[in-house]
């Protein structure tokens, strides 16, 4: 069964350093999402792509976070500089279409610890 791939699975970094996460969605899925999940809370949408275009990044802290999906396939989420409050699980998901009824498939996530 096709899966969403994410790497790394775990990342420990010092504050003020740069960190990047990678996501490879299920083949053929046009829509890609990045979420942040703080321990004990539900995931919060950071950015949504439709093919290579950003359709929603209203919750992305743009002073330090950036995301790209250059060829409309895999995607990278970057944080620079990292802050202590960025410690969380970063989840990537994909769906066939962005229409409301389409299921999102989630990757295993990247757990970030900022020290």
């Amino acid at each position: 069964e096709a899966e969403v791939a994410q790497s790394p699975r775990y990342k420990i970094t010092e504050k003020s350093q740069a960190v990047a996460f990678w996501c490879d969605p299920i083949s053929g899925h046009a829509t890609l999402y990045w979420y942040r999940q703080i321990l004990g809370q539900g995931p919060e949408l950071l950015v949504q792509f439709q093919d290579e275009s950003v359709v929603d990044d209203s919750q992305l802290p743009k002073d330090r976070f950036s995301a790209e999906r250059l060829k409309g396939v895999d995607s990278t989420l970057k944080i620079q500089p990292a802050e202590l409050g960025d410690s969380a699980m970063y989840l990537c998901a994909s769906s066939l279409r962005e229409t409301a009824g389409y299921e999102q498939y989630f990757g295993p996530g990247t757990r970030l610890t900022v020290t």
Binding site: V4, P43, L45, D56, A100, F106
Partner: protein, 116 residues
């Protein structure tokens, strides 16, 4: 604006007894509603979804949920709990159509514990 409220942060039931996880939503548009499960160290998995078809939705692992528009609820139930059901459950709302006002919203989660 839309929102989703999971009424219980933690539910504990005995194995073999019914499970009820409560979810209320608020949406300006006709919503699609989902329940996802998250086991420790695993990705989120879809349990079931409502997309304006039948109001009683059956999902995987014996779970089902009923969409009640008058009560703005989408509670998750299972007749008989199994130890493997212990996990975190998230209710998700997404209004139909798409605009800057129709974001995907996750609830804060309900942790389900199963007592032997």
């Amino acid at each position: 604006a839309q929102s989703v409220t999971q009424l219980d942060s933690h539910v504990s039931v005995s194995e073999g007894t019914p499970v009820l996880l409560r979810c209320n939503y608020s949406s300006s548009y006709s919503p699609s509603l989902f329940w996802y499960v998250q086991h420790p160290n695993k990705g989120l998995q879809l349990l079931l979804k409502y997309t304006s078809a039948a109001t009683l939705v059956k999902g995987i692992n014996g779970f089902e949920a009923e969409f009640k528009k008058s009560e703005t609820s989408f509670h998750l139930t299972k007749p008989s709990a199994h130890m493997s059901d212990a996990a975190e459950y998230f209710c998700v709302v997404r209004p139909s159509g798409y605009s800057s006002a129709s974001k995907i919203i996750f609830g804060s989660g309900t942790r389900l514990s199963i007592r032997p």
